[in-house]
């Protein structure tokens, strides 16, 4: 017997329930489609009509459909051959276009799908045929693929829009149905039409009526969430039920442990709280041994201790605050950044002071910080630290920001000075040169130099003033000699321009 989901799969977009905005956009997209129009990426929970919409659209437009889903192997080679061939050929059977449907585009990993994402990008870029990608989880799709697509979100369906469809199925199957039963199905489906139809199918098969009793046995298997488990621990539940919930989770026990740890402060009575932490600590021992020995049977003891043990300690006192993701995760992200900053400080300091990074970190970091605290400016300059790095050493955000400002200002000034000095030095050389050339000209009456005309635009007006200062500067500051040397390279053209101005 064919199940009802397939049997009553909508043939036309008009038959699809809910998500009208998405459907309208799909029709527009299909109607205006021409090579180069970005593909659609339909995403949303299971059972809300993504795949059905894509097929219905193809049917409405009279397009052929070529589907690649997770049950096919999707290696680079296969995608290139099947999807690539589809996307660059015309139809064989005489329809206008072929729709390439990449279902479960968020499941493109694992060894079997190696290189698959890259291949899909290639196909999208070279496609001469429309493409629709479908995913449950938008974040499971590679960023590069998303960037090439137009995203359309399919939302969960309202229970009240599911009921009429269930009613229609009942009448089409000649089954009498109870309104309450249908409502119950629609609500427990959680916006998932496929689940609702399957439940109805299960409740209605082999019977002429769909009653409330038959529905309760056909309810969808609900997977527990971590929130339910943590809530269950605090509220206190049957041991077996708590264990079942923990089995349902896709998280590993060490993740669950951190959630539980985050929730334990909610236990009011200090004695109970202590006891709960005790169980959690014991559980943690088992986790440690699990990983140490790679003996995963120990997991169940860890889980039992962290779930049943803490629940017993909590004594069913109930949830008193928000159940939140473990704060430690946030802290770890922060710590990671801090570590990076520390590392870069250490590298710079170790280089400057000829000292191993580890020694510096273990023995001198504190002293180093105190010394730096006295004169952060010169420290920052010497080690060329940035704001975060200086802050790490002196542990003072405001001051390090000020120091950075100061350094910036000084740098600017220095730059200005250097520029001026450079120009002055050039000037000095130029005048020296010109004099020499003039002498030369006088002596031999030579022709003009062959350089093309190139007047010096940057020539400062008060050049004569800076000549003196630059000359004195270069005399007592040997480090300026480099700049002078640089300007000397440019000499010929400069020489000429001044020659003309004289």
């Amino acid at each position: 017997m064919q199940d009802w989901v397939e049997k009553y799969r909508p043939k036309s977009l008009a038959d699809i329930i809910g998500n009208k905005d998405c459907l309208r956009r799909m029709i527009e997209w299909a109607r205006d489609w021409k090579p180069g129009v970005p593909p659609l990426l339909l995403y949303g929970k299971p059972g809300v009509g993504k795949t059905s919409s894509a097929y219905a659209l193809a049917n409405d437009m009279n397009w052929e459909v070529v589907e690649l889903n997770a049950s096919d192997q999707r290696t680079k080679g296969i995608i290139e051959r099947v999807a690539g061939a589809t996307a660059t050929t015309m139809s064989l059977l005489g329809s206008q276009r072929k729709l390439l449907l990449l279902d479960e585009a968020d499941n493109l990993h694992g060894t079997a799908d190696m290189g698959g994402a890259r291949a899909i990008i290639g196909v999208i870029k070279s496609s001469q045929q429309p493409i629709i990608l479908i995913a449950n989880d938008k974040y499971g799709v590679a960023k590069e693929i998303k960037a090439l697509c137009e995203l359309l979100q399919f939302r969960a369906l309202q229970a009240r829009s599911i009921v009429p469809h269930l009613k229609y199925l009942c009448s089409a199957e000649n089954k009498t149905c109870n309104d309450n039963a249908l409502m119950q199905i629609a609500e427990s489906a959680g916006g998932d039409m496929r689940a609702a139809v399957n439940m109805l199918f299960a409740a209605g098969s082999g019977a002429d009526t769909v009653s409330e009793e038959s529905v309760s046995t056909a309810a969808k298997d609900q997977r527990s969430s971590i929130f339910e488990l943590v809530g269950g621990i605090l509220r206190g539940g049957a041991d077996r039920r708590l264990m079942e919930m923990s089995y349902d989770l896709s998280d590993t026990p060490d993740t669950v442990e951190q959630w539980v740890e985050g929730a334990l402060p909610q236990i009011k009575n200090p004695r109970d709280r202590t006891e709960a932490y005790g169980y959690l600590a014991q559980s943690d021992l088992y986790l440690g041994r699990t990983y140490l020995r790679q003996y995963y049977t120990l997991w169940k003891y860890a889980t039992a201790l962290m779930v049943i043990g803490t629940a017993a300690a909590a004594g069913g006192q109930g949830v008193t605050g928000n159940i939140m993701p473990p704060a430690r995760w946030n802290r770890m992200a922060g710590a990671k950044k801090k570590k990076l900053v520390r590392q870069s400080v250490l590298i710079k300091a170790a280089f400057a002071y000829h000292m191993p990074e580890n020694t510096l970190r273990d023995e001198y970091l504190k002293a180093f910080g105190m010394i730096a605290d006295k004169d952060p400016l010169s420290f920052a300059k010497e080690l060329s630290l940035d704001g975060d790095e200086l802050d790490y050493i002196i542990d003072d955000k405001v001051r390090s920001a000020e120091v950075m400002k100061e350094i910036k200002r000084e740098e600017k000034e220095q730059e200005k000075k250097e520029k001026a000095a450079q120009k002055a030095a050039e000037k000095a050389r130029k005048s020296e040169k010109t004099v020499r050339i003039q002498d030369l000209a006088k002596a031999t009456k030579t022709e003009k130099p062959e350089q093309p005309e190139k007047p010096d635009l940057n020539e400062p007006a008060e050049s004569s003033v800076s000549i003196g200062s630059a000359a004195s500067k270069s005399a007592d500051e040997p480090e300026n000699s480099e700049k002078v040397g640089k300007s000397a390279e440019k000499k010929p053209s400069e020489t000429q321009s001044t020659l003309f101005s004289f």
């Binding site: 052929e64 050929t89 015309m90 064989l92």
Partner: protein
């Protein structure tokens, strides 16, 4: 039900013809012989094969349809000696087909017909141009083209009465022109379409054994190759969708 004996060489050829396009197919069995019609996963190429009862040494069958893993079958028949006679035995409603040859007995599990793609309808397309050339010549052109590019154009120039095949690579170009006088049949019509060599290479290898291949062409339309196997008792039709010429 199927009970038949056939020359290995003939059976091998028939399997290879199908394996060039698909890896699994539905095999239609009737008193008149075997028939396959299938398209590949990308809906780009179609094979239709009719292997008449006279192609077999003995043949007795009732109507049925089975799912065959063609790639597996191809590997099996590749190992059979040419001289052997192959017997096929498929009892009614069985899930396995028995292949016997030279002392070996091979039992092949069949695929559930419902898991194999449905046979496509024959598309109704008009292909006005037609030429007939030797299979070996066609295969040579395909092989030559695959050296310079991944696609080849087939076309008919009605003005100077030639059939041409040309391939444009990034740097190289190859062109083969055949005058109408050198062709066995020539029905002129304005025709030119571009095809993927990926598919043609496999098809060309199979067609190279055919003495004559009829080629039907249109303008940006699929190409149809028609040829016979098993001494004229098997009729094969390939249909290949054209590539979209992008600039």
């Amino acid at each position: 039900m199927l009970k038949a004996a056939i020359d290995t060489e003939v059976f091998k050829e028939a399997v290879e013809v199908v394996a060039a396009i698909v890896s699994e197919c539905r095999l239609n069995i009737s008193a008149n012989g075997l028939a396959v019609r299938a398209v590949d996963t990308a809906n780009v190429a179609m094979i239709s094969l009719e292997l008449g009862a006279p192609a077999f040494n003995t043949f007795a069958a009732g109507d049925s349809q089975i799912g065959l893993d063609i790639s597996k079958l191809k590997n099996i028949v590749a190992s059979i000696n040419k001289a052997d006679v192959l017997t096929l035995d498929l009892p009614d409603g069985a899930y396995k087909m028995e292949l016997a040859y030279g002392g070996f007995k091979y039992s092949i599990s069949l695929l559930d017909v419902n898991t194999v793609r449905k046979d496509p309808n024959l598309p109704s397309i008009q292909l006005p141009g037609k030429v007939v050339i030797a299979g070996a010549e066609l295969n040579n052109a395909i092989k030559a083209a695959s050296l310079v590019s991944d696609k080849i154009a087939f076309g008919i120039n009605p003005d100077n009465e030639t059939f041409y095949m040309e391939a444009d690579g990034d740097t190289d170009h190859i062109n083969l022109e055949i005058k109408a006088a050198d062709l066995k049949t020539f029905i002129p019509a304005e025709a030119r379409s571009l095809f993927s060599l990926d598919y043609l290479k496999d098809m060309g290898r199979v067609m190279s054994k055919a003495e004559e291949v009829e080629i039907f062409l249109g303008k940006d339309h699929p190409v149809k190759f028609v040829f016979t196997i098993a001494g004229g008792e098997g009729k094969v039709e390939y249909l290949l969708a054209p590539r979209i010429e992008s600039d």
